[in-house]
Amino acid sequence: MKIIVLNCGSSSIKYQLIDMPEKQVLAKGLVEKISLKGSTIKHTMADGTEHQFEGQILDHQQGIEYLLGVLTSKEYGSLGSLNEIDAVGHRVVHGAEEFSGSVLINQEVIDALEKSTELAPLHNPPNLKGIYAMQQLLPDAPQVGVFDTAFHQTMPEQVYLYALPYILYEKYKIRRYGFHGTSHKYISARACEILGVPIEKQKIITCHLGNGSSVAAIKNGMSFDTSMGMTPTEGLIMGTRTGDLDPGALLFLADKEEISIKYTSSLINKFSGVLGISGVSSDMRDVEKAAGKGDHRAQLALDMFAYRVKKYIGAYAAALGGVDIIVFAGGIGENDIETRKNILEDLDFLGIKTDPDKLGTRGKETLLTTDDSQVKVIVVLTDEEMMIAKDTFEIVKRK
């Protein structure tokens, strides 16, 4: 079964064409910098050869059109026509309490997703765009939604509830949901597979650090706590999102700037984070370049980002009653050497002994700690797409 997996982020689309159940990756790629300067599609064919195409990609609809064009092209494609695609798997950010597992997408599911858009204003819209685009371009291919929130549905209520009047939870289901669930699930399992330890006996802290970032505390193989909340805005400082922010400060700001709730949401989701502090970019690579040239605010943004992650690691070590494994994944977690070093600095009291020869590793699954380190710190290459393909295959097979 040829499954195309779409993982639509706020300015990117990760895609893979996977033949299941063989798990054979026929093609994969990354559409980047959607609606930013210098959009690209980095496409990798089955034989590993890479190609990059540059141009202007104005929105997700156009990005999807181009990637399908690449997949069906004579020179670079893996498909004779779009009809060869048997199913589509979508990463969907927010499933609210409606979806605790993956589902076949129908109109009822789409309606529920549209309702959840207010909870994930940066992500559900591009996820939905991917769904609409595929409905139109591949009307006969079943589509499956795999939810970021599903893995975290095991959090106990003293962890997921906010200290608001309980009646508001009952009325609106205001609570912590958490995101990047597919990634946290995959990387925790993968880390244990690499280390050869049973996941049920480990206390694991997983750090998915990318344009969106979150940390999860995993106990007995299940999510116990996570940094993102009801929306993906809470927790770590991100590319354009504030992360944790005093709610009182937000009310003060909305009042002083005389802006509506909609624009306040835009402020904390699109103008803040690393971009807001540095004034340079939401992309850590650009910010690091600027910091290297002596830009104080750029350095400040980097320091703030690392500190927030460090704080969460400390907090979750306490919540779990200790830690056995810390996992780094995501664009920053897998590749940003300096940021990882900053995060791990002064954490030796937890029992972490880093291996200086390994700390400079980029883009590879690597153990960053010495053999005698009490806590293992490991870089895992997250593969949400394979998890999504697996779930899609199971659901479509059962249809």
Binding site: E54, G55, Q56, Y66, L137, L267
Partner: protein, 318 residues
């Protein structure tokens, strides 16, 4: 260089019957707001204007509006670029040929109803668009049936009245004419939904719901003012607080534009003959003195930018 363009899928693969491109004829303030709002919701927009200079001027105003939104944290710079990239201006009606829906929004500030001009526009639109395209007008006091009489296929005409401020109002009045088809109405309703609004179904009547309610509201406020019952500010504040209105009657009149308000009143009075629609002497006096409201900074209030700074001198209205 745009290497990606070679991978553009064949347009025949793209679905038909979708509302993707809309046309606007006459891109004044309302047309600009409709263009921006539709583009922000992913529509491609083509607007027709009288000259290339006017088109340049309009793009400058669109940019200014978007810059204002950016200054209030509403959208990012790249979102602004994306929105503007979806909008195209032209002096040729031929550019409307791919539009799924075209709205006539020529200025209603000129004298008279301009019904002949609007009918001519309808005919020009029909000559270029495909037979399934909707042709509509942002009519406030006119009847869509009157405009549709000149069309070969009058069933495709639907009235779409946008409520000001277009970016904030949740509703649009959707008017079915005598010969409008259900198919056309449903298509227009789909468009309204696609731009994030709710369609209020209106059975054709001059003034629809909104203008027909607003006109006597403003007239009665003028009566109260003329009787010396209370000041402009106090009347506005009372209506805001007591009825939950967003703005009081005089603020509303200034925002619509007093010349436009007077025109609505004249048109409705001509249609219904009921004195409650007859333009108040206060409104007439202000318009004659060129007090038009926010448009030129003086109306019932004096304005600095969009903020009222003082209310009208009593000598003007007495």
């Amino acid at each position: 260089m745009n290497q990606l363009q070679q991978f553009s899928l064949d347009k025949s693969l793209l679905p038909k019957g979708k509302i993707q491109t809309i046309g606007i004829v006459g891109c004044g303030r309302v047309g600009q707001d409709v263009a921006l709002h539709s583009a922000r919701f992913g529509m491609d927009v083509v607007f027709i204007e009288i000259s290339n200079e006017r088109i340049k001027e309009i793009f400058k105003k669109l940019e200014e509006q978007l810059d204002n939104v950016i200054a209030h944290w509403g959208i990012t710079l790249s979102e602004k670029r994306l929105v503007l990239s979806r909008i195209k201006g032209s002096t040729s009606y031929k550019e409307l040929r791919f539009c799924n829906l075209v709205i006539e929004t020529i200025s209603s500030r000129s004298e008279g109803t301009m019904i002949e001009e609007r009918q001519e526009i309808f005919q020009k639109i029909e000559a270029v668009v495909n037979e399934k395209a909707i042709i509509s007008s942002n009519l406030a006091t006119l009847m869509i049936s009157d405009l549709a009489t000149v069309l070969k296929h009058p069933g495709r005409a639907i009235g779409i009245h946008f409520i000001d401020p277009i970016g904030k109002a949740d509703i649009v009045e959707l008017v079915k004419g005598v010969r409008s088809t259900d198919d056309a109405y449903n298509k227009a309703r789909r468009f309204v939904k696609l731009i994030g609004k709710k369609a209020i179904k209106v059975n054709e009547s001059p003034g629809n719901i909104s203008i027909r309610m607003i006109v006597p509201f403003i007239n009665e406020a003028c009566e109260i003012l003329m009787e010396g019952v209370a000041t402009v500010e106090d009347i506005d504040e009372t209506m805001r607080e007591s009825s939950g209105h967003r703005t009081g009657p005089f603020e509303l009149a200034d925002r619509i534009g007093l010349d436009k308000v007077m025109k609505y009143m004249d048109n409705l009075y001509a249609e219904f003959g009921n004195s409650k629609y007859k333009a108040s002497p206060v409104i007439k006096r202000l318009v004659r003195a060129n007090y038009l409201g926010r448009l030129n900074g003086k109306g019932f209030y004096n304005y600095e930018g969009s903020k009222p700074v003082s209310n009208i001198s009593f000598t003007i209205i007495n």
